[in-house]
Symmetry: C2
Subunit: 222 residues, 2 copies
Amino acid sequence: MARRGSYAKGIAKREEILNTALAIVARVGYSRATVRELAQAVGLSQTGLLHYFGTKEQLFIEILRRRDEVDGQVLDGVATTGGGPLDLAKAVTALQRRNTQVPGLVQLYSRFSSEAAEPGHPAHDFFRDRYRSITSGGASAISEQQQDGTLPADLDAERLAVIVFALIDGLQSRWMYDSEIDMADHLAYFWSLLGKREAAAEDEGEQGTRPTAPAQPPSHTW
Amino acid sequence: MARRGSYAKGIAKREEILNTALAIVARVGYSRATVRELAQAVGLSQTGLLHYFGTKEQLFIEILRRRDEVDGQVLDGVATTGGGPLDLAKAVTALQRRNTQVPGLVQLYSRFSSEAAEPGHPAHDFFRDRYRSITSGGASAISEQQQDGTLPADLDAERLAVIVFALIDGLQSRWMYDSEIDMADHLAYFWSLLGKREAAAEDEGEQGTRPTAPAQPPSHTW
DNA sequence: GTCTATATATTGATAGAC
DNA sequence: GTCTATCAATATATAGAC
């Protein structure tokens, strides 16, 4: 993109828009999140908003990217076992619990990803890459935990990673129809079925956001 | 609905439309499955098609109902262990393998169900009820297998049922982005993690449609 | 029952002024 | 950078003839 005018200001405004849009979508969901509606919510005209993102799809992609970033930061503070490897069970369970608070985002993800499944869709590559990324990241985490002894060594890390993230998606789809079902609880139960488990079991009840380790460990960007 | 004119003929035509539409959608997917397109495919005008189903949503609901019926019939011939209870692992694995052959239907299900997650959507109740139905059916099957000894007795049948069907949905979402991943294989692997397993393991390789038992057992309509 | 023609409603995108 | 005004593309639904 050509940089003219106040470059820094443009970025800042973009950030501001993104954060607001993220909050709006989280509340009103996908259907009402038209470009017009979003523009109005951030105090811009439709054209003004599109000026920053070009198309609706690009805007939504950026929203989801931002969400992933935020989630990654949350993970850093909650899912590392005292400087050890990422505790995947703890991580995904925490994120799933978090999702309960932002139904609109869950809906955005569900609908947008299902639409973009079509090969020619502008967001197709984004989701494809994201899937691969989280799967490979998840598989790595599992492998580390296996060496660590916190997960059984005979598990197929790659296949398990695919299964875990598929389960997460599926639970969200289900939850949208029945908010009574506890996504985090089901996820924790799944981990408990894997045999040996350290952290997954202790994460049953409340949604306490106790900062286990306020250190500054590596950022898990997926 | 008021019955006038040839009632039987109306039903027959409806059936014919449904079967054709099912095949069309299975091939072209959701986006191209507009009422117009579907109407043309069955040799009717848009209005002519809508005459039978009222709205697009109703049409799609009926298509999915029909699909479930067909799937249920398939199950009857493949997933019963010699007159015993339904082998859930075998059943869902077989269905998942079947889904590989009808990408358009997988897409229809994914997109339509994500759209209908919105509370006011015409198809919301259909999916809600369907989820409940398959979950309760799945939980029953698991319970029976536990008594039967083909599944560990300490499993939480209800929670496991939710997990299984969520996993199925999630694998489909993933598969649309990466048709290389073997849904049935991952599903089978999941079952293998549950400890004791009888039938799930033998279902690894090919997609042979050998009719294990050509009997006429009870129909599993979920 | 089925068709033609049309109404209606949305929405994302663009042109061009300021 | 931002806005007003407008375009253009769908797609569903309906009116009314045959």
